[in-house]
């Protein structure tokens, strides 16, 4: 396998975006949620690891926005909170 393989470029892997602090605030306000209510994603997740390399350090407590293409609803957006593990 090539060493430059990037999971995020695989067609079956949905888009992952690391949110900045201001984006986090905005997203949480829109959703009317607190961080602890979000679904989780492990820091060891290959997508998170790739994001970590691409757009700077990803620590616990950051939010990742995942955008999926869906045949029924066009796109579906969800947010996940990075946790250890």
């Amino acid at each position: 396998m090539s060493e430059e393989f990037n999971v995020l470029e695989h067609e079956l892997v949905p888009e992952h975006h690391l949110l900045s602090e201001s984006e986090e605030k905005k997203a949480l306000a829109e959703l009317q949620l607190t961080k602890d209510q979000l679904p989780k994603i492990r820091i060891s997740d290959p997508c998170v690891a790739t994001l970590d390399q691409a757009v700077g350090p990803v620590e616990e407590g950051r939010i990742i926005k995942i955008v999926r293409r869906s045949p029924t609803s066009g796109v579906s957006v969800c947010h996940r909170l990075v946790i250890r593990g």
Binding site: L31, L33, K35, D36, Q37, L38, P39, K40, E60, G61, R68, S70, T72, S73, S76, V77, C78, H79, L81, I83, R84, G85
Partner: protein, 924 residues
């Protein structure tokens, strides 16, 4: 009855350990003697039945709280153990604690910084809303890290390896640690080292996992029963406690008398055994404690665990009142929304009627009728009246009149079930929400529950002795909710695949096929007879060659369709010709409906069947549940009318084929055998050409299977040529009512190869399947090819092979049902309290998000079009009419595929075989 309103809510539950002090503090008495009752049958003080522990006999008073049997909650006692004993339930924790702390100073084998780091991680995860399992994982990690250290960072002591000899023996490098030693070590662990290990020192100290005193549950938990002979029989738990007390006593005496260490140790171990089995009599590694009769004792864990345990049988599942169970039978003249209830059941099941000014008269009339109003038709009476003071009066023929006199506002009259009452109807296994639906009652004669046959598929019911349950709703809210959400007609479209689960079956499909196939006509008498059963007019007649008036079946059927419905699709009988002749199809398989008129095509399974019915699907979706239910009611009655007039029967002579056809089949099979033999000899001579990626043996098997499969198909075709549309069995197979052409060809032609695990039969005797064949015979007959048909009958060897193949199917379904049942239980436990919130998100009870939008698209699958949000083709057709047909892919959608997958799930073993073999998975 619960009189007062509950004003407190449980906000959290905390589990902690009982300390020996607490055990003694909550104890009503110390138990010291193993004897329970004295010679006069009175409980002995400080024995296991001490009246301080609460009383169970009525009339006696509890010595602790002074209350009577039904008011005393029961009180714990305790046994002081002569020597400490390990609690089996905590051995895992104990092992973790022993391994991760220092043997000398008791500190956690990590530096302060390391320990703090772990605690911080734990706190951080908790703050981020991580689940308890993940948090627990961190403490496991901590323990693992600590256990890997060989030298204590605090005192420098070298650590020895600690192992657990299951179930309860700890060893340090082979040297046995007594529970006492273990306890001493745990006592040394300082409070501040506990949180990193996941223990809150305020609610649990590790040494409490070693028992020094044992709580004795109240008598109410382990009541003794008096047998008919007058002997008393004690509960298993009491028996076990007696054992514990006896050994505890002996151990104490021996220890105090200074008996040899060996004897004391033996007794100590025996005490450990009894206490271990007192908790869990299925602990692996030790023999279960048994009764004198040899039956294993049912101790604490056995009371809780498994299907019959406290959780599954008493807490998650409860027995209820106002319910009935009896055998079911069909009644095609009931609406799909109704259920026929036998009179006997209706007189036992009641609905509470709250008396007020407006219904006082009605209530009085009901009460006057008494508990068994005579005569026909059925009239509801009353069994009980509840007075304002909560007293319950049983209404009898004698007091009926006087009770009705005293009736006043606020009384509750428990009246019998009557027509129109909403009840819940259920058949186990309740695998989906359609397994429990709301029906309207129709009180009827006889002793069975009855319902419309269209409702069989969602319940997966048949009438070979199936029983079903019925529950009578007791409040107005419940009735309203059930009527809106649970009524049968609201469930015609399934949430599983967005198509109908309720619809015509078996004779409905045959009937409607006979009604509409080609240009079947009915004379005036027949037509009026069919139409008299539903609330529609006769359509315009046509004139026959004889000058009399006739009615086309297609016109009769059209009367049930909404006036503005347009549809185009292919019926089940469609032969899937290379080029479709559409309206001019010689099989009359191209269904065209314009403005509610059936123009061409035959109505069959694809139109009105459960799972596949397209007309049903469209009516339910576009015209609503009311229209769908009345359409179904009428269509099924019309079908039964039509089949009744035409007459319909099937028998083994439907599979009769002419002699020359039989000869042809024989010839085909003979040729196939020869071919197989030639393959075998080619293989023997090494002349067989190996297939890529396969061994020579596999190649041979593949070739033979292919050849024999072809032969069976050919036999089926030959038989099929002589089985035409005038044949009842063929009609049923073609229109989708029951059976398949494969079934027929197996009955008339040839059954074909039997397989186990997808291979020809090979197991049995050494190198052969049966002693009837030569060793190493690879021919067709020797390896499970059945050349006979079901009709001609099987030879003994064929019969044996057929049973082998059949057995695999049975075992598969048995395994599949148990496994899917377990999976279902797990899924339900995981998903049961998820909820779709107002904003469309899915949340659990803790308020964490599971999905931001239900299903990620917010689509209710039961309102979807086979999972799609909108039916584009249908809209195009509606807007553009005929011209739209080219734009829309009118012909086929995934209808067939979902139908078959669905059946597969609900199928019973004997059906599964017949229907999976010809399952066709359509691609689109």
């Amino acid at each position: 009855m619960i009189g007062q309103i509950i004003t407190k809510r449980i906000s959290s539950i905390k589990f902690s350990l009982l300390s020996p002090d607490e055990i003694r503090k909550m104890s009503a008495t110390k138990i010291i003697t193993a004897d329970t009752y004295d010679d006069d049958g009175f409980p002995i003080d400080m024995g296991l039945m001490d009246p301080h522990l609460g009383v169970i006999e009525p009339g006696l008073r509890c010595k602790t709280c002074g209350r009577k049997a039904d008011e005393c909650p029961g009180h714990f006692g305790h046994i002081d153990l002569a020597m400490p004993v390990i609690h089996v339930g905590y051995v895992k924790e104990l092992k973790k604690l022993l391994q991760s702390t220092c043997r000398t100073c008791g500190r956690l084998l990590l530096t302060r910084e390391q320990a703090e780091d772990y605690t911080k991680q734990m706190a951080r995860l908790e703050e981020l809303g991580g689940d308890t399992i993940d948090v627990g994982l961190i403490s496991k990690e901590t323990a693992k890290d600590a256990a890997s250290r060989t030298v204590c960072p605090h005192c420098g002591a070298v650590q020895l390896k600690i192992t657990l000899d299951k179930p309860t023996t700890f060893r340090e490098e082979g040297h046995k640690l007594t529970p006492k030693e273990v306890r001493e070590r745990l006592e040394r662990i300082p409070d501040e080292d506990l949180p990193p290990l996941g223990i809150d020192p305020d609610s649990a100290r590790p040494e409490w996992m070693i028992l020094t005193s044992l709580p004795v549950p109240p008598v109410a938990v382990r009541p003794s029963i008096t047998l008919e002979s007058g002997d008393r029989s004690e509960d298993d738990i009491t028996h076990k406690l007696v054992d514990v007390l006896r050994i505890n006593q002996r151990l104490r005496e021996n220890r105090d008398a200074g008996a040899p260490q060996l004897i004391v140790e033996d007794l100590w171990e025996l005490l450990q055994y009894h206490i271990t089995t007192y908790f869990d009599n299925q602990t692996s590694g030790i023999p279960p404690a048994r009764h004198r009769s040899g039956r294993p004792l049912k101790t604490l864990v056995q009371r809780l665990k498994g299907k019959e345990g406290r959780f599954r049988s008493n807490l998650s599942g409860k027995r209820v009142n106002f319910s009935a169970r009896t055998v079911i039978s069909p009644d095609p003249f009931l609406s799909i929304n109704e259920v026929g209830v036998p009179e006997d059941a209706a007189r036992e099941l009641t609905v509470p009627l709250h008396v007020n000014d407006w219904n006082l008269q009605i209530a009085k009339e009901l009460v006057i009728r008494g508990p068994k109003p005579p005569g026909k038709p059925y009239l509801p009476g009353v069994n009980y009246v509840l007075r304002n003071d909560g007293r319950r009066i049983k209404v009898t023929d004698k007091n009926a009149e006087s009770v009705s006199e005293i009736l006043e506002q606020g009384f509750i009259v428990e009246r019998h079930l009557m027509d129109g009452d909403i009840v819940l109807f259920n058949r186990q296994p309740s695998l989906h929400r359609m397994s429990m639906m709301a029906h309207a009652v129709r009180v009827m004669d006889a002793k069975t529950f009855r319902f419309n046959l269209s409702v069989c598929p969602p319940y997966n019911a048949d009438f070979d002795g199936d029983e079903m349950n019925l529950h009578v709703l007791q409040s107005d809210e419940a009735r309203a909710e059930a009527k809106i959400l649970m009524r049968v007609q609201e469930h015609i479209l399934s949430p599983r695949f967005g198509g109908p689960v309720i619809g015509g079956i078996h004779d409905h499909i045959t009937g409607v096929f006979l009604l509409t196939y080609k240009d079947s006509k009915f004379d005036e008498e027949e037509a009026t007879h069919i139409m008299s059963r539903m609330d529609v007019d006769l359509p315009d007649p046509i004139e026959g060659i004889d000058g009399k008036k006739y009615w086309r079946g297609k016109d009769l059927f059209s009367m049930l369709l909404p006036n503005d419905i347009h549809m185009t699709f292919r019926a089940s009988i469609c032969q899937k010709c290379q080029e479709c002749k559409r309206e001019k199809c010689e099989n009359d398989a191209f269904v065209v409906i314009r403005s509610g008129k059936l123009i061409t095509g035959t109505i069959d399974e694809k139109a009105i069947g459960a799972f596949k019915g397209r007309i049903l699907d469209k009516i339910a979706r576009d015209y609503g549940p009311d229209s769908a239910s009345s359409f179904l009611n009428s269509v099924t009655r019309m079908a039964i009318g039509a089949i009744g007039i035409r007459g319909f029967t099937t028998g083994i002579n439907d599979e009769d084929i002419p002699m020359d056809a039989k000869a042809q089949i024989e010839e085909v099979l003979r040729l196939a055998m020869e071919k197989v033999n030639s393959y075998v000899s080619a293989y023997r001579h090494g002349e067989l050409e190996q297939m890529p990626g396969r061994s020579l043996e596999e190649t041979l098997e593949v070739e033979i299977m292919k050849e024999l499969g072809k032969a069976r198909d050919q036999a089926g075709h030959i038989a099929g040529r002589h089985l035409g549309m005038e044949n009842s069995a063929v009609i049923m197979a073609r229109c989708g009512a029951r059976g398949s052409m494969l079934n027929l060809s197996q009955m008339a032609g040839c059954i074909g190869q039997q397989a186990v695990r997808g291979e020809r039969l090979r197991r049995g005797y050494w190198n052969r399947t049966l002693p009837h064949f030569m060793k190493g015979d690879l021919g067709a007959e020797a390896r499970g090819f059945v050349r006979s048909s079901y009709k001609s009958g099987l030879s003994p060897t064929e019969f044996f092979f057929h049973s082998m193949g059949g057995r695999e199917g049975l075992v598969d379904t048995a395994v599949r049902t148990s496994r899917s049942g377990y999976m279902q239980r797990r899924l339900i436990n995981a998903l049961e309290d998820l909820k779709v919130m107002q904003d469309g998100s899915v949340q659990n009870t803790a308020g964490t998000i599971i999905q931001f939008r239900y299903g990620e698209d917010g689509i209710d699958p039961s309102r979807s079009v086979q999972g799609e949000p909108v039916d584009i083709d249908d809209i195009i057709l509606d807007v553009l009419g005929e011209e739209g047909e080219d734009l829309a892919k009118v012909t086929e959608k995934g209808v067939v595929s979902y139908g078959i997958q669905d059946r597969d799930l609900l199928e019973t073993p004997e059906d599964a075989e017949s229907e999976t073999e010809d399952s066709e998975f359509e691609e689109e």
